[in-house]
Symmetry: C2
Subunit: 279 residues, 2 copies
């Protein structure tokens, strides 16, 4: 099957590598507004050829959109207008806004809304990885509005990536991801800022940083071009989670300020329960 | 050299394994109030024998204290009272309170205050690792109050662990670690609480958790028996950093609430600078 991937960054590039490696795609055509990304992806043989949107769609059976979610709102309707019988899939990190955008499109049934829950703090085709998706989970939203044919193809695609499928409403997806992805990024961005501000005054603070700090702060390397549109489209959920996070931190602060170490220990034991769920 | 290690948990156990493996110690004697830890450490051959504090000290040249920092305040003076010519070293995560405790001890010069900046979210001898310290950095405090002989021995010890040495005042150490270790733990504990509270209402939230969330939250598995005494002894520094962290999070929140995505992007780009320092 010939697959077009729009956006040859971390996710698009990793999909290109893996879908060919696993035999799902026989050829991957890359489409990207950033010429440098296309050149890199071609040089590294991540994509087989580069083409314009219209040229690529005509010769493909499947079109995957792997672009930031603000660009998605603009490009997805264009793609839906251009396709004939082709199946279209997105991998955006938000779902409500994207699905609203094509809710009444005459070819809505040819589209499947998905979100593979995988990534790193890096971006661009140079960050693409062949094993990024292995054994992680992918969310499919509003599957009842996709045709059986489209759904079947996308199931095969994710099976070839060795991903587990989970079905959610778009609203549930956006709320869940605010909790298990978006807030982690804000927590890391704020942690990086706190330490960097102090590093300006005091030298060598970061010289001492060990594994614990690095793992908590690594998401702070994430690209604002990807994350600002996510925060914009998922603003209400993110604000809700952020307020709960602030409340929990404030509770920690107050117990510490009041030297109430008994209740502080109880709070930590409650937090320890995360190990029952995350191995 | 025969070495006594008081506290056979993650750090003490890892020291025992590595100091023997690298040829620094010919024999390691374990001392632990928790009999189960001693049994585990013996069964796994992490220590060569178990003994009481007084028995172990008599036959050793070096005594290392690797116990929670509240126990340290009690046990360190006992050890200093018991030693004859032996060298004593601690590996506690706080330094001001510990050094105050033995500031005027007649054998102060035989003691070297250190903190190897290495660890994991796990505890107990079963978590001990042979490569925990490799290429990380160890802090030595108030070295001017240690004898040349004691300092030389501890330098050799950390060289055998392949650690880089950094010299700081106790006050600077406690401030630096509040920034690059203690706040990361609070950030993770609060994140775990936020998500666990929501998990109670809504199922499957954590099913979607991928690498980003796991790395931000992994420190939330850390043991309160170790961390409460650290927060207690380093309370003022931790409160200061926590207030700055809360301020940065609040700024994020306000920009998001006000839909000021331009300034939010600028804040993220500032946070991205962490990648220039942390690889």
């Amino acid at each position: 099957m010939i697959v077009t991937i729009i956006g040859t960054g971390l996710i698009g590039g990793s999909l290109a590598i893996t879908l060919k490696e696993r035999g799902f795609a026989t050829k991957v055509i890359g489409v990207d507004l950033v010429q440098e990304n296309l050149h890199k992806a071609l040089r590294r043989k991540i994509i087989d050829e580069a083409a314009s949107l219209a040229e690529a769609i005509v010769v493909s059976e499947l079109i995957i959109l792997a672009i930031p979610v603000d660009a998605m709102l603009k490009v997805l309707p264009q793609v839906m207008d251009l396709v004939d019988q082709q199946i279209v899939m997105d991998v955006g990190s938000t779902k409500v806004a994207i699905l609203q955008q094509i809710a009444h499109h005459p070819k809505r049934a040819q589209f499947v809304a998905t979100h593979p829950m995988a990534g790193t703090e890096y971006s661009g085709p140079e960050s693409a990885l062949p094993d990024l998706f292995d054994h992680k989970c992918a969310v499919i939203c509003e599957v009842e509005k996709s045709s059986t044919k489209a759904h079947r193809l996308i199931k095969q695609l994710y099976q070839s990536l060795q991903m587990r499928l989970i079905y959610l409403t778009a609203a549930a997806h956006d709320m869940h991801t605010a909790y298990i992805s978006h807030i982690s990024h804000i927590s890391s961005f704020a942690l990086a800022l706190t330490v960097l501000e102090k590093e300006d005054e005091e030298e060598r603070i970061l010289e001492l940083a060990s594994g614990g700090f690095s793992s908590t702060v690594r998401l702070a390397k994430s690209n604002p071009k990807m994350w600002i549109p996510i925060f914009e489209q998922n603003r209400e959920n993110v604000l809700e989670v952020l307020d709960e996070y602030l409340k929990n931190l404030q509770q920690f602060r107050d117990l510490l300020a009041n030297k109430d170490f008994g209740n502080l220990a109880q709070l930590i034991r409650k937090a320890n329960d995360i190990q029952k769920i995350l191995k």
